[in-house]
Assembly symmetry: C2
Homo-oligomer: 273 residues x 2
């Protein structure tokens, strides 16, 4: 516990390149929330190339949940548009290996799994707009309390592509009612990171029966009178679509353990120039 805490505090002092180096060596295996601030962090999906085109089309058709910010060349482990030396086999602190829709293993590097039939996708992440909200003076409950953001399955159908369909997964943050417009305005410019919220007010309307029982993450606190639940499209959506599909093999990051890139969060485009 103390060791992990010390490592996290050390990681906080490192820039994106230094931290990725530490992760690559296996010296840092922790969560990445709050680290390398102002640099784009991403969700990761790795698939066999035969599913890649259908998956890219799925992302294009569901841009709020699946904003693609990087793709490797087929068979290459390098995200050359996201950093000068990003190797997806080693540069994420923790990976989930899925077989036939079930979690098969959780590992700290995937060199034994990587082969030339694979392709890796990087998808924008909510850390980006959360950082901007914090810079604008908002407090975010799950961050203040060191919890995982609550995430929910909804009744919002994704637009299908090949074997990928299912429904949208959303994340939730509590906002004061009179700040809703401000939240929309701040978040809409982060179209590489889920953009503006997709719903606020009535969770039942989007198929969430009980806000206190999230499908992933920690339960939120109760609302005060002047507050409202606000929901964003979530990067767990593509994982959920893949696990519900016929795809036999997939690797993702472990939620919360993201890829740290060399692209700034407020860059005009998520491409290193």
């Amino acid at each position: 516990m103390d060791k992990a805490f010390n490592l996290f505090n050390k990681a906080k002092t490192l820039n994106n390149n230094q931290l990725r180096e530490l992760i690559r060596c296996g010296d840092y295996k922790g969560q990445t929330a709050g680290l390398s601030q102002n640099m784009l962090q991403t969700n990761i999906i790795i698939l066999e190339k035969k599913y890649a085109l259908d998956f890219m089309i799925f992302c294009q058709r569901n841009p709020k949940a699946c904003p693609l910010v990087g793709v490797t060349d087929i068979g290459s482990p390098f995200f050359r548009t996201l950093g000068s030396n990003i190797d997806i086999r080693t540069d994420v602190p923790s990976y989930n290996i899925y077989k036939n829709g079930q979690l098969f293993d959780t590992v700290n590097q995937i060199e034994n799994y990587w082969n030339e039939n694979l392709i890796a996708f990087a998808i924008g992440c909510s850390f980006t707009f959360e950082h901007s909200l914090i810079r604008h003076g908002f407090s975010i409950d799950h961050i203040d309390n060191n919890k995982v953001v609550p995430m929910y399955k909804t009744n919002i159908q994704n637009v299908s592509s090949g074997p990928f369909a299912n429904t949208m997964v959303v994340s939730m943050r509590i906002v004061k009612k009179d700040k809703i417009n401000s939240v929309f305005n701040i978040c809409k410019s982060f179209h590489w990171a889920h953009g503006s919220p997709i719903h606020f007010g009535n969770p039942q309307e989007i198929g969430i029966a009980k806000v206190e029982n999230p499908d992933w993450g920690d339960a939120p606190r109760q609302l005060l009178n002047d507050e409202v639940y606000v929901f964003w499209a979530c990067g767990v959506t593509p994982q959920n679509a893949i696990l519900d599909s016929t795809v036999p093999f997939c690797i993702s990051h472990t939620p919360g353990y993201m890829l740290i890139t060399d692209v700034k969060e407020d860059a005009d485009i998520p491409i290193l120039q």
Copy 2:
């Protein structure tokens, strides 16, 4: 001439669905600038499916020039996220057929060319931000004078993907120097339509030797003292990359003769909901 003029004036009175119906029947074969205002118009690229993944990755890596707003299912001619009834075989007023990097034919429908190995891509178009600039009180020279926007090859390298590379093509508009910031602010929200300019000031810096000799479109007028040349990434970039590649067969729209969709220009995402 009179007949074309009358048809254009009739077309101007139609909504997007009515106009697409007229195009589908072969009764309107003209340019689409100024028609169905406020609805998203798009560039079109049609390729064999074996090149589709590399091409989608090329678009992801060059988002200012190639903002993908729609993709058909493999072998399907329908853009189901851009409209309720868009058939890419008939719904563009004019198509260019390219073989081995050369223009082979220009036709008004492609039913004889379409087959189940093809896939169609829709890419955002500069009409979108031009309409917004006009609504903000800007005058746009080539529109006021009924000319085609000047377009130039540059020395800006695209990020490559598979057989696709080449350099960025840009379009140019003349802007008053004291309005540059305003132009950037208006255009940056249209990330589905080339977004903010990629350069202003010195054309030589991006490899344009003579602004008066565009590679496509009409020559611009000379600058006044308080004006500056402003350059945007252009949707001709992907065509140019394909024609310079080893891809043997490609269909595009004829420049200026765009696909008219059912998506509003100011929509949050370019997906019909």
